[in-house]
């Protein structure tokens, strides 16, 4: 028998909680490489119900170009970079597309950029994949990051500029490898970005998957992680900051298909401005054979101003009683005025006090990333975001 829980404990006024979910088990969700199997969504489907489908419409079509982004890879000395055709047998091994943009991205991309960390290599530097928007023409892109057995390394995918990008990122972590993949969405205001991350984690392998989303008009990222060998571990960390009219959606799926694997999901976001909308959905499936699974997922949202909306839906399905641990937590809160009062009562001006509280909210998570260049960039981006809301505050005060 399967036990399904699905609830969000949204505590703030203006935050939305969704206690009832119509869809069935995540295991029954249709996945396919074939366009015909996954039709254009209406917006009422479980996986699209929070999404602005009108703004994503172009990405549902079959026709995509390839020239809208410039991709530059600066690899670690130990890493190998190739451009391969879509018929390369290494592609498509991480699972099938699970929604319309994922299936159109898969079919539209003609080639793929492959970053390989060879077996037993320990990368001495970060490999950086810079994806820069060049035009707004709809573009499909396919990336594969492959850590061969017992390799270790960090790959940072960095999105900037303005683009309309439909992307697949495949991540393969072979036996005993330790891989960190960071995806930074630091787009310009108008960018539209859908991305299906599909990760396969082998025996005793470890993946740290980090998502950082700041910019863009619509960013919809769907990281899937599947374990293929015992003793695998995935840590999924996400951090986002949405401004007025931005839609940032992160839908995760962790598939515990084999015994004794561990997953930790921690996503935190801040929202400010009218029409800012963040969505977090965390599906975790513990299959009947996945004994000894240890999983925990957490999502927290900090609502800084009125008119911003956060949807948070953790969803844990457990098909075996023999688990190590399984839990989840979700909370959406407004900015705490008592914290503000406490800091101001110690002489700290309001702007600095707010900054301390928001930085504090993200602090733990930033420490967890473990890639110094990304951490610094992140702190700077948080500062820049806060600058916007602070000028709004000082504007009101005057």
């Amino acid at each position: 028998m399967a036990i399904t829980t699905d609830h969000s404990r949204a505590v703030a006024d203006g935050a939305h909680s969704h206690g009832v979910v119509p869809a069935g088990s995540r295991a029954e969700r249709k996945t396919s490489f074939d366009l015909a199997d996954i039709p254009v969504p209406t917006g009422r489907e479980e996986e699209w119900r929070f999404s602005p489908v009108a703004r994503l419409q172009p990405l549902f079509g079959e026709e995509h170009g390839a020239g809208g982004v410039l991709t530059t890879v600066v690899e670690a000395p130990e890493a190998k970079v190739e451009i391969v055709g879509k018929d390369d047998p290494r592609l498509g091994t991480t699972g099938k597309p699970g929604d319309r943009t994922a299936v159109t991205a898969w079919n539209a991309a003609a080639e793929a950029t492959v970053v390989t960390l060879p077996a037993e290599a320990v990368a001495t530097d970060v490999t950086s994949v810079r994806v820069e928007g060049a035009t707004k023409d709809l573009t499909a892109q396919h990336l594969l990051v492959h850590a061969e057995h017992h390799a270790e390394g960090v790959v940072v995918i960095d999105h900037r500029g303005d683009a309309t990008l439909n992307q697949t990122v495949e991540i393969v972590v072979d036996e005993g490898a330790h891989l960190t993949v960071v995806s930074v969405q630091d787009w310009a205001d108008g960018a539209v970005h859908a991305s299906s991350h599909r990760a396969r984690i082998g025996r005793d392998a470890k993946l740290k998957h980090v998502v950082v989303t700041f910019g863009g008009d619509v960013v919809r990222l769907t990281p899937d992680a599947t374990f293929t060998g015992e003793g695998g571990e995935v840590e999924m960390v996400g951090l986002y900051f949405a401004d007025a009219d931005q839609h940032q959606e992160h839908r995760l799926f962790v598939d515990h298909a084999v015994p004794r694997c561990k997953s930790r999901v921690t996503y935190k976001g801040a929202l400010q401005g009218a029409g800012a909308h963040v969505v977090w959905v965390g599906d975790v499936l513990i299959q009947a054979e996945a004994e000894g699974t240890d999983t925990y997922e957490l999502n927290r949202n900090l609502v800084l101003t009125d008119g911003a909306r956060a949807d948070s839906v953790p969803n844990l399905e457990i098909e075996t009683g023999e688990i190590e641990g399984a839990g989840h937590a979700s909370a959406t809160g407004r900015f705490d005025d008592e914290q503000l009062f406490y800091l101001m009562a110690r002489g700290i001006p309001e702007v600095d006090a707010r900054r301390l509280v928001v930085r504090g909210f993200f602090a733990e998570l930033i420490d967890e990333i473990g890639v110094p260049s990304v951490e610094e960039r992140l702190l700077a981006s948080i500062e820049a975001e806060l600058e916007k809301s602070m000028s709004a505050i000082t504007g009101v005060a005057e």
Partner: protein, 255 residues
């Protein structure tokens, strides 16, 4: 000599049902170096007085004046009041996740003094003050008040009083929740601040036990939103023995 002067202060609290009057004409003058104890039954408005003086947004001053050193305290924002020399040790200090005690203390000190404290001396000063208050050095890296026990929170408040060197400190039930040893350690901290800086102290408490360590110059009985009687230290002893019955009128009994 700096003076905190409260004149005919009326304060309401914002509730869902509208404004509810709590303070009904408080008159009190505190000179620097003086220690005033305020004692009164639960719900009489002691914390309201403390919060209103610090500028908590939930409390509205409906009439009266408060001056600090001749300046209009009520016209200042919360942070301006603190920088003008007012300090409130809260009855329920607030947790601030992700902000370390060390960072918090340095940020506040910088704001209050208008310049960053000298790096070399500040570290030593913080360390010494923490040792005096029996606060373990690991607390410097912990988040402000997060997971602190009741007693640890109170010691952290007094640590700030010692480091920030305010002209006037309001201590709202700093003694509650402290065992005998902690009470002594905290009281010593307050007394150190008194002798080092000539701070004026407004000490809110229910019990005389803290007054055995911190000697008040004046004792005020606070009932139903105002001061019902004033006297010297002997008044505290009387209150301990007889309670507040003689002050609590028919209309002021709690439900």
């Amino acid at each position: 000599m700096p003076t905190l002067e409260i004149r005919d202060l009326h304060v309401s609290v914002e509730t869902k049902e509208g404004a509810k009057p709590i303070l009904r004409g408080v008159d009190l003058t505190i000179n620097s170096g003086e220690t005033h104890a305020i004692m009164g039954p639960n719900g009489s408005g002691k914390s309201t007085l403390a919060s209103a003086l610090a500028g908590h947004p939930k409390y509205t001053v409906t009439s009266g004046t408060v001056t600090l050193d001749g300046e209009d305290l009520l016209a200042m924002t919360v942070d301006e009041r603190a920088r003008a020399g007012l300090f409130l040790a809260m009855q329920y200090p607030v947790e601030v996740p992700g902000v370390s005690v060390a960072n918090f203390l340095r940020t506040a000190k910088t704001a209050i003094d208008g310049e960053a404290p000298a790096l070399r001396t500040w570290g030593k000063e913080v360390k010494g003050a923490m040792e005096n208050l029996r606060i373990d050095s690991t607390f410097a890296e912990r988040s402000v008040n997060e997971g602190f026990s009741g007693g640890e929170k109170k010691r952290h408040e007094i640590l700030q009083m010692e480091l920030f060197k305010p002209h006037f400190a309001i201590l709202d039930e700093t003694d509650s929740g402290l065992d005998v040893d902690a009470l002594r350690v905290v009281s010593e901290g307050v007394n150190r601040a008194k002798s080092n800086t000539d701070v004026g102290v407004l000490l809110i408490t229910h019990y005389t036990r803290i007054l055995r360590y911190i000697k008040p110059d004046f004792v005020h009985v606070f009932v139903d939103g105002k001061i019902a009687e004033e006297g010297g230290p002997e008044l505290a002893e009387q209150l301990e023995e007889n309670g507040y019955d003689k002050y609590v009128g028919t209309g002021a009994t709690m439900a």
